[in-house]
């Protein structure tokens, strides 16, 4: 039994056999198999060779004889390697004697050969190493591709373990059988997490070397509530977890019952709970869980799932779908928050050296006006369908905000000229997610209708921590006094100017922070849909008086550790089942 601690990324408990997905982009870790699995792994190697040969034969045939006889030659050489029995034998012998997986066997043998060439003095010959890396990747792609196919046709429940999951890997998940996800890398907002939350399965990320510890078929417990993965648990632990898991699902059941009840504190203060969504079809989930609208509609999916830029109509349809679900309840559409990703980076000659401090989010929009205006037009057109609000992300200064508003006015004038109707009084808000915006909140508040505090980026920029980086991710905490003081400033400035202020970062969905936020004066939160019932339960169990006391106490504390342990204890008293 081995216990690994990571970051809890999606709640729930699962006990299942593990299925490991390696990636051809990372070093394949050595992973033992049982003697009885040898034949399966050897057969997998044979199939991978066969498929790779078929693939290459096709490529070779497609090559025009006249152009690139060099390329044809490369294919021809690789084909001969793939057909070489002694190469295959080296791999299958390794699997047989060392009890390793097909992936590891392929990778090790081909890398050994490559290394043999890298060590040669003759530069022409040592360049041959590249050919072997190429053959390695080709075979791994076959092995892993088949594994992806296997995931589509699962017949038993599994927990997926990987270094990191990419959208292509998760696209084929058979939702019925994938019971949990655990990855070496990643943070709370990585792709793995988004998938896990949308499937409603537990996930733990940032486990560092989990893939090197787990062997395929090992039983694992993924505890998405505490951020723990237990490899090969003993019987006693399994029993404990079964009991805990049962209690947890009863608890969830109980939470479902409070869906219809208002989010109101015991002393009658009404709190508005909105949902954060990524895709239009999640709107329904927000409603199901008892959310009262959308507080953060991320729109990046429109750009990341397609290769061409989305049209105004595509934007409009996506917004119309969501707004339609909520009729006259608020839907806050955030303008695109692209940056530091494939979409923006692929448009550059060289990647930005420091993308999170680079051309991202509103900055990117302000430099790509055509794209920005297309989105604004679509939002304005959709504004007639319900209570649509517009929100600009990552504002760092007044000028940026005024510029964004000016462009919005330009778009409105264009629509006027074309006699296209829209809601002239659409509410405009900004996200407060940089220290500079938080410190100048009193100024910014003069010219907008609402603030939404994006704690994820605010923490990252305030504490100078990339939480996706396992080496420093423990420094990332909303309980840091610096972060809390900034949040308090923003809330106070918003109240002084009498504009709405909400929190839409993950902190708002963390049960430990609910009382603190209410105590600091927050009355609207926007959170990930699965967390709505639990947060509502907490709200219904407290009084504003209690919350104020928690906030007073915490804001007088000077250490992150002291604050987080105080908050944990405070909520445990109120909702012991959640922990």
């Amino acid at each position: 039994m081995e216990i690994k601690k990571g970051i809890a990324a999606s709640p729930g408990i699962s006990i299942a056999k593990s299925l490991i997905i390696d990636s051809e982009d990372y070093l394949i870790p050595q992973r033992k198999i049982t003697p009885s699995q040898r034949l399966t792994e050897i057969q997998r190697v044979r199939n991978a060779f066969k498929d790779a040969i078929d693939e290459l034969t096709q490529f070779e045939a497609q090559q025009d004889q006249t152009e690139g006889s060099k390329i044809k030659d490369i294919f021809a050489v690789h084909l001969r390697f793939l057909r070489d029995r002694s190469l295959r034998k080296k791999i299958t012998d390794l699997i047989h004697s060392e009890l390793v997986t097909a992936e590891y066997g392929v990778s090790t043998v081909l890398r050994e050969i490559a290394a043999h060439f890298s060590n040669q003095k003759d530069s022409y010959i040592n360049e041959r190493a590249a050919d072997f890396y190429d053959i390695e990747r080709r075979l791994l792609r076959q092995l892993l591709g088949r594994k992806r196919e296997d995931i589509k046709h699962l017949s038993e429940e599994v927990a997926i373990i990987a270094r990191e999951l990419s959208p292509t890997q998760t696209a084929g998940f058979n939702k019925k059988f994938v019971k949990g996800l655990a990855t070496d890398a990643g943070g709370r907002t990585s792709h793995t997490v988004i998938v896990a939350r949308s499937l409603g399965i537990p996930a733990v990320v940032a486990l560092e070397d989990l893939t090197e510890i787990v062997h395929g078929g090992d039983r694992v417990i993924i505890d998405g509530n505490r951020g723990i993965v237990i490899v090969n648990p003993d019987d006693e632990t399994i029993q404990q977890y079964k009991k805990y898991s049962h209690e947890f699902s009863e608890f969830e059941h109980k939470l479902a019952a409070i869906r219809e009840k208002p989010a109101e504190t015991r002393d009658g203060t009404k709190i508005t709970i909105l949902g954060n969504i990524e895709f239009p079809d999640e709107a329904e989930l927000v409603l199901q869980k008892g959310g009262e609208g959308i507080g953060l509609y991320r729109t990046e999916f429109l750009y990341l799932s397609v290769t061409t830029e989305p049209t105004e109509q595509q934007h409009y349809e996506a917004y119309a779908e969501t707004v339609g679900v909520f009729k006259h309840r608020p839907v806050i559409i955030r303008t695109v928050d692209l940056g530091a990703d494939k979409h923006t980076q692929s448009r550059r000659f060289a990647p930005e050296p420091n993308p999170f401090l680079g051309l991202r989010s509103i900055r990117f929009c302000l430099q790509n006006l055509m794209m920005f205006k297309t989105q604004l037009r679509a939002i304005l057109r959709a504004s007639l369908l319900g209570q649509v609000k517009i929100m600009f992300p990552l504002i760092t200064n007044l000028q940026e905000m005024m510029q964004a508003k000016m462009i919005l006015r330009d778009v409105m004038e264009d629509l006027d000229e074309e006699s296209i109707p829209y809601n002239r009084n659409i509410e405009i808000g900004i996200m407060i997610e940089t220290p500079s915006a938080a410190l100048t909140a009193s100024t910014l508040a003069q010219d907008v209708d609402f603030f939404s505090i994006g704690t994820n980026d605010l923490i990252q920029y305030t504490l100078a921590v990339d939480r996706g980086n396992e080496l420093v991710s423990t420094l990332y905490s909303a309980a840091d006094p610096a972060v809390l003081r900034l949040i308090r400033t923003v809330i106070q400035d918003a109240h002084k100017t009498q504009i709405d202020v909400a929190v839409c970062g993950e902190v708002a969905s963390d049960p430990e922070y609910v009382m603190l936020l209410l105590g600091m004066g927050i009355r609207t939160i926007s959170i990930t849909p699965p967390m709505i019932p639990e947060v509502k339960q907490i709200i219904r169990s407290v009084t504003i008086e209690d919350c104020n006391a928690v906030a007073r106490k915490v804001l007088g504390m000077n250490s992150e550790r002291q604050i987080s342990s105080y908050l944990r204890n405070a909520v445990r008293k109120i909702l012991p089942e959640a922990f």
Partner: protein, 104 residues
């Protein structure tokens, strides 16, 4: 070329060749050598004085990493050993591996 035991059942032939093309026995020449070797029924081994490898396995041949000037001992055992040896010697020493690319 030296003829070995002259039996009908099992002929053993051996020769020593020198790699003369400037980039040595890299991928394409290795492919040609192995392709040629595979046309014969006899067993063929290639020896660079450190290792003896299977002349019909491209991986093993390439692993010899024979550069220009390297001397290789080729040995064939089987009924068509004689033909195999002379064909291989022709490829290495006279044709210098037919090369469509003058760059090689």
């Amino acid at each position: 070329m030296q003829a070995g035991q002259d039996s009908l059942e099992k002929v053993v032939c051996e020769t020593t060749v020198e790699i003369k093309n400037k980039n040595g026995l890299h991928m394409r020449p290795a492919m040609q050598l192995v392709d040629l070797a595979n046309q014969f029924d006899c067993d063929i081994t290639v020896n660079n004085s450190e290792n003896v490898v299977d002349g019909k396995s491209i991986m093993q041949i390439v692993m010899l990493a024979a550069s220009c000037g390297t001397k290789l001992k080729i040995k064939a055992e089987g009924t068509d050993a004689k033909k195999a040896i002379s064909a291989m010697q022709e490829l290495v020493e006279n044709k210098h591996f037919i090369d469509p690319d003058s760059a090689d």
